[in-house]
């Protein structure tokens, strides 16, 4: 399984034909205490770079973008009751949604873990 990262601090992990999407540990640290996550409904079509979800922290609302195009297959129901999972385990239990992969070549433009790490170190 391969994990990719965007410069908007989303991660996407490919598992066969579907992918899981979330926000990075760096992103949750920047957002601070997360109180609500608005997730896309199953069946929703996402365009790469388009709005996919909204994260509400105590201080502000922030958009989360789709790393690639595809269709949402599942939203993480656990975040409804416990949005703080995004703070405690952003790159694990705090995943946002799963989606189909419309065009695998879109992943080529994303960063791998090492590249993302140096990207964040440079911020």
């Amino acid at each position: 399984m391969a994990r990719y990262f965007t410069d908007e601090h989303e991660w996407i992990e490919l598992d066969g034909d579907t992918a899981t999407v979330g926000i990075t540990d760096y992103a949750q640290g920047q957002l601070g205490d997360i109180v609500f996550v608005e997730l896309p409904d199953s069946g929703k079509t996402l365009e790469k770079g388009g709005d996919a979800a909204v994260v509400e922290s105590v201080k502000a609302a922030s958009d989360v973008y789709a790393p690639i195009s595809g269709e949402v297959t599942e939203a993480n129901a656990a975040l409804e009751d416990d949005p703080a999972l995004v703070n405690s385990d952003p790159e694990g239990e705090g995943w946002f949604f799963r989606m189909t992969v419309a065009d695998k070549s879109q992943l080529d433009g994303l960063m791998d873990e090492a590249k993302y790490k140096s990207f964040v170190d440079g911020l």
Binding site: G32, D33, V35, F36, E38, V54, E56, S57, V58, K59, A60, A61, P83
Partner: protein, 390 residues
């Protein structure tokens, strides 16, 4: 002040800048300064302030000293509160109003007139010195306030911008305990909205029992060069931790305290803003201050809208700018809103049509094309715990 007001404002640093960074603060530009938004996390700092004592740097705020003969009478021409009857050492919340009754700023004014001790050699008895008023205004509006006051106060009145002074706030139920341990017998007799000068060693402090969190607490003004040492001294107390602007905002929202530039603007009058407590009764009729005609009419005839609190179920916060509805009709806007860490649900302040302003009124607020049920609530959301004495 520089004369290059047309060029974009540079972000400046305040005396505690390096201290904040050493404490692990995340710094953001605010009111023209680099300010700490948070250290450990907003909710942690918020809860700490409600349970212990938070130390806030509010040095961005404008500290002014106004002196001169008849200064109280001159200030009363600009402020709707009774200043002449404010006794030395007492503090009052007031408003700077324009000619149309719009709020230019909200502020705290302290009668800072000094007591001059008797001098046996000179043969003088103890007496009050020349009248002086210490005024704290908002950081983002301070330059406009200073310009406004200089324009409208007569030349005999001197207005000093104390930009060589820092301002910190120690807020929370254990603020007094911690401060008492650092400096004994200074705040024992003080109650909410009182202010004293105290020489702490060689540092001249002004300590005011007030704040912006709804908790008991103090604001301490002192020369820039000593503020870092005082902060270290205060943070050495077990009850005290530094708290950033993020928690300052969530705390003041829970306390129902308006934020200038958001809940108050030059287009809003004090009656709509539900700040009639700042309109001293004796001056409502007698007037003699800028905007009185409009304020007086608003008091008599009521206003179209009123500032209210709104509470929400669920967890989705409604932010500034969100529209408020009664059925299909748009009846207002949110001016500040967020998630209340203390209450565990979203809260907001906003302006709604007077007919919808009664507590308990059920309304809806639009967030990203969704309608959230909201109910008008009495302010504050979280009860104030000021130390008012016996």
């Amino acid at each position: 002040m520089s004369d290059d007001t047309d060029t974009p404002q540079e972000i400046e640093t305040l005396p505690l800048d390096a201290w904040h960074r050493r404490k692990g603060a995340r710094m953001v530009p605010f009111a023209g300064y680099h300010m700490p938004i948070q250290y450990e996390g907003i909710v942690t700092e918020h809860d700490w302030t409600r349970e212990q004592a938070g130390l806030f740097d509010v040095s961005h705020m404008g500290q002014l000293m106004v002196r001169g003969e008849n200064v109280a009478a001159e200030l009363e021409k600009l402020l709707p509160g009774a200043i002449a009857s404010l006794k030395p050492g007492k503090v009052r919340y007031s408003l700077l109003l324009n000619d149309e009754g719009g709020i230019l700023d909200d502020l705290m004014v302290t009668n800072a007139t000094e007591w001059i001790e008797a001098d046996e050699e000179a043969g003088t008895e103890g007496h009050w010195g020349d009248p002086a008023y210490y005024i704290v205004v908002n950081g983002a509006t301070k330059w406009d306030d200073i310009a406004w006051m200089r324009e409208h106060l007569p030349d005999e009145i001197t207005l000093t911008h104390m930009d060589d002074h820092a301002l910190i706030a120690l807020q929370g139920p254990n603020a007094a305990t911690a401060l008492n341990r650092v400096m004994r017998n200074v705040i024992d007799d003080m109650v909410f909205m009182e202010s004293v000068c105290h020489d702490f060693g060689e540092w001249p402090l002004r300590i005011t029992r007030a704040g912006y969190t709804g908790e008991d607490g103090f604001e301490i003004s002192l020369p820039n060069e000593h503020v870092e040492t005082l902060c270290n001294r205060l943070c050495a107390e077990i009850e005290v931790r530094p708290v950033g602007l993020g928690a300052r905002d969530s705390l003041r929202l829970e306390a129902g305290l308006p934020l200038y530039g958001h809940d108050l603007t030059a287009e809003i009058d004090p009656v709509s803003a539900d700040l009639t407590f700042a309109l001293t009764k004796t001056r409502r009729e007698s007037g003699g201050y800028k905007g009185h005609e409009y304020v007086s009419a608003a008091l008599r005839g009521g206003t179209k809208n009123r500032r209210v609190g709104l509470v929400f179920e669920g967890r989705l916060p409604a932010r500034e700018g969100a529209k408020v509805f009664a059925g299909a009709e748009e009846v207002g806007r949110i001016t500040s809103g967020g998630f209340s860490p203390t209450l565990g649900h979203p809260i907001a302040m906003g302006y709604v049509a007077k007919a919808q302003a009664e507590p308990g009124t059920e309304l809806e607020v639009e967030v990203r094309n969704k309608r959230l049920p909201a109910k008008v609530a009495t302010l504050p959301f979280v009860p104030h715990r000021y130390h008012r004495g016996k």
